[in-house]
């Protein structure tokens, strides 16, 4: 009997320990974000730091975004054509490709690629810096690591995401155009005209842009916090990098549903 009681208590203990741990992490990540916000103005004093990070976060992610965008657009063109041709309405292929990319696939797939390509790199970088005690070294020299290291990376990720998503959607639309118009014979004018007619600037285009802004914010935040909060061992860096990609992807997919529901409700 006593043995059973002790086991039950142990279950509750581990449950409480874990909940407290995750609440603590949530609190630490919020404080982390507040410190990042406070440090952002100092980035404008040293724009060179931001440019360096825009290169490693944004420019190095372009290639994967270009390739993925082209193929996603081409698949949309192919699949959409095969569905629409059943209803004799293959002329609205442009509508389908445009709306799908601008509203959903552009922001979401770019955010997933961003978390995998740029987010994991940011986490690993910060994790290694913490493991080799570079943050402490900076603090010893009276340099705030938040101003010097973290804020430029945050701003670079936040600014890169909308541009990457726009590049993804634009390339995807041309991919769909290539498959639909050149390979399958949809009318050139109908593709663009139908797209323009049904993609609304405020309802569709701006919704997509807002999504990318939110996703960029969340993905960069998670990546930086996981790196900054990692256990300072080589194993800890590995775990933090995995956690960063998994958490950022799940956050993006979950937020996407919430944002879509909110936006559809107001429209």
């Amino acid at each position: 009997m006593q043995h059973f009681l002790r086991k039950t208590v142990a279950v509750f203990e581990s449950l409480g320990d874990r909940s407290l741990d995750s609440f603590e992490r949530l609190g630490r990540s919020t404080l982390f974000l507040v410190r990042v916000f406070k440090s952002i103005p100092f980035v404008f004093l040293r724009p060179w730091l931001l440019i360096q990070q825009l290169y490693s976060v944004g420019v190095l992610t372009i290639v994967i975004v270009l390739v993925a965008g082209t193929f996603v657009g081409m698949v949309l063109g192919l699949q959409g054509y095969n569905i629409l041709v059943r209803f004799n309405s293959e002329s609205s292929l442009g509508t389908m490709v445009g709306l799908t990319l601008v509203r959903e696939l552009g922001p979401v797939v770019t955010a997933l690629l961003f978390a995998g390509r740029a987010g994991s790199a940011l986490t690993a970088e910060l994790g290694l810096m913490k493991t080799t005690e570079q943050f402490s070294a900076l603090e010893m020299m009276a340099v705030d690591p938040f101003k010097r290291v973290i804020a430029p990376r945050f701003l670079a990720g936040f600014l890169s995401m909308p541009m990457l998503a726009a590049i993804f959607s634009a390339v995807g639309i041309y991919g769909g155009y290539y498959v639909g118009v050149y390979l399958l014979g949809v009318d050139d004018g109908a593709y663009w005209a139908q797209m323009q007619k049904s993609v609304d600037f405020h309802e569709d285009f701006m919704n997509g842009v807002w999504k990318t802004v939110v996703f960029g914010f969340v993905a960069t935040w998670i990546a930086l916090f996981e790196g900054y909060d990692s256990v300072p061992t080589s194993e800890g860096i590995g775990r933090a990098t995995t956690q960063s990609v998994v958490n950022a992807s799940l956050a993006v997919l979950g937020l996407n549903f919430i944002l879509t529901a909110l936006m559809l409700e107001t429209s």
Partner: protein
């Protein structure tokens, strides 16, 4: 990597991002076709508006002249009151203009067609279109058609 090359690449990235945003805004979405000019509002009362909705087009001879800006239900007269925002440069619709709800294609979106009459006075901000034809409801038509066949 030298500072200059890095700056060039970041410049290319930013330019490509802005160009893509611009392309999506102008070529893909309908921003380029949305008028930014001033508008005046006229209203029309329809027995049935069918699938008309806010932002549905208002056309004259097939040309886009404005959009539906508001739809209300008048419970005293049991009619739908549709407010249309017409661009100021199309200011010569006579007061006996007729507003009809049509469908683009068999199953397409619905729009309002304005046909000017012969009067010399023109519709102004806040004026009411007297002649308004309701939307064609496909089910009503089929129903009438079937009852005609049966009665023969």
């Amino acid at each position: 990597m030298t500072r200059q090359i890095l700056e060039i690449w970041v410049g290319v990235f930013v330019a490509a991002g802005i160009a893509a945003l611009f392309m999506l805004a102008m070529k893909v979405s309908n921003l380029s076709t949305v008028s930014t000019g001033d508008t005046y509002e006229i209203t029309a009362r329809f027995d049935n508006i069918g699938g008309l909705s806010i932002r549905s087009p208002v056309k004259a001879s097939g040309v886009l002249v404005g959009r539906v800006s508001n739809i209300k239900y008048d419970k005293d007269y049991s009619v739908a009151v549709v407010t249309m925002s017409i661009q100021n440069r199309f200011d010569s619709f006579s007061i006996d203009s007729r507003a009809s709800i049509y469908t683009a294609g068999l199953l397409g979106e619905q729009y309002i067609e304005l046909v000017p009459g012969i009067e010399d006075n023109y519709l102004e901000d806040g004026s009411d279109v007297v002649m308004a034809d309701s939307a064609l409801i496909l089910e009503n038509l089929i129903g009438r058609f079937i009852s005609e066949i049966i009665s023969k």
